[in-house]
């Protein structure tokens, strides 16, 4: 059970990996995405994307600015304008 997570900026593909859960700072509130999430598209506000590699693991946070999150059949894609770190 894994979620395909991709984080893309204009400059490069930052992440492309299988993870357990990702918490995305949507513009209408944070939402967590697990495998099998219903298709969703949301704008995101500036904030931290939290990546849980496995269940219960310490989340890894990635600061992103401006962009979109899209959940489709093939996982979660976050298109961010800037990624810090």
């Amino acid at each position: 059970m894994a979620l395909r997570f991709e984080l893309v900026t204009p400059a490069k593909l930052v992440r492309s990996e299988d993870v357990h859960m990702v918490v995305v700072p949507g513009s209408e509130g944070e939402f967590g995405v697990l495998e099998g999430h219903a298709p969703l598209m949301s704008t995101i506000r500036d904030g931290a994307v939290q990546v849980y590699k496995t269940e219960g693991a310490e989340p890894e946070t990635i600061e992103v600015r401006g962009g979109f999150a899209e959940v489709g059949e093939n996982g979660l894609t976050v298109l961010a304008e800037h990624v810090e770190g």
Binding site: T9, K12, P39, L40, M41, T43, G72, E73, E81, H82
Partner: protein, 291 residues
């Protein structure tokens, strides 16, 4: 017939020119690799963005579509955004871009449209000014940063969208070189604003019910400026790769030409040297016989 000293001078001057072209060629080869990698790294973002665009544009259409997508209904005033390089020594690249831009401008003028220019990069200024001096709207300077990145694309896009919203133009075209290989860079004309609706492939999102947060229109409104930025960013990256590719090829030719010239001059030099020696010998022998 040039004197020996003159020939020697020429050979030396051609040799130093060759050194310069050779160095520039190697620099371009190294930079080309980096520029190509950057252009490739930017592709996933552009692909995904246009995928999202395609699925959204199909849903939001008609009167509710934002201006950036639907246009403002007129097509009288055109803005040509011409992306040129900042540095020369890259063969016919800039000449080709300018030629494409001028051809487009003439076609539009012939249709009775109004045409303005928005120039990015230094090398397009002079040749476009020669023919369309009074039509140039703005120069955007990218020469101060070493490698134009997303910030520059963002600045250009914000400026363009601002002008569009103020009604300064109706349609914007983007003219930039597309990097095919080190030997071929094709000048390309694309419509930038209003954003041409991407062809939606029926496979994506056709059956799935997608949840939109906040709403389809809001997302599309945010997405369109971003799409314009990505387009401009892509064109800057293509320009970079094209410049280095063209520069590499041009400098390779120049180095080879310099080599040929040096060979020719050296032969000429040696011939005249031998001729001088022969003449001297004949003079001595003739002098000795006369005694």
């Amino acid at each position: 017939m040039a004197s020996l000293k003159e020939l020697k001078g020429r050979i030396n001057s051609v040799k130093s020119t060759q050194k310069i072209t050779k160095a520039k060629q190697m620099v371009a080869a190294a930079k080309l690799r980096r520029a190509q990698a950057a252009a490739e790294a930017a592709r996933p973002y552009a692909e995904r963005l246009s995928g999202v665009m395609a699925s959204l544009a199909g849903k939001v259409s008609g009167d509710s579509a934002p201006q950036l997508l639907a246009g403002n209904g007129a097509d009288q005033r055109h803005l040509l955004v011409v992306v040129n390089t900042d540095k020369g020594l890259c063969g016919g690249l800039n000449a080709n871009i300018v030629k494409a831009a001028k051809a487009k401008a003439r076609a539009l003028i012939a249709e009775g449209k109004e045409v303005r220019f928005y120039l990015v990069g230094k090398k397009g200024r002079a040749p476009i000014k020669r023919d369309f001096a009074e039509r140039i709207e703005k120069h955007f300077d990218t020469s101060e940063v070493r490698t134009p990145g997303f910030e520059e694309a963002e600045a250009i896009a914000d400026d363009l969208i601002g002008r569009f919203e103020q009604g300064e133009f109706d349609i914007a075209h983007l003219i930039y070189p597309v990097f095919r290989s080190a030997l071929a860079q094709d000048p390309t004309v694309d419509q930038l604003i209003p954003v041409p609706s991407p062809e939606s492939d029926a496979g994506t999102g056709g059956d799935a019910v997608v949840d939109y947060e906040p709403g389809e229109e809001e997302i599309l409104e945010e997405l369109l400026p971003r799409y314009v930025k990505t387009q401009l960013f892509g064109s800057l990256l293509e320009r970079e790769a094209s410049e280095q590719g063209a520069s590499m090829t041009a400098m390779d030719n120049a180095t080879r030409n310099a080599g040929d010239l040096i060979n020719k001059l050296t032969i000429q030099y040696n011939r005249s040297r031998q001729a001088a020696i022969t003449t001297e010998l004949i003079e001595i022998i003739a002098g000795a016989e006369a005694l």
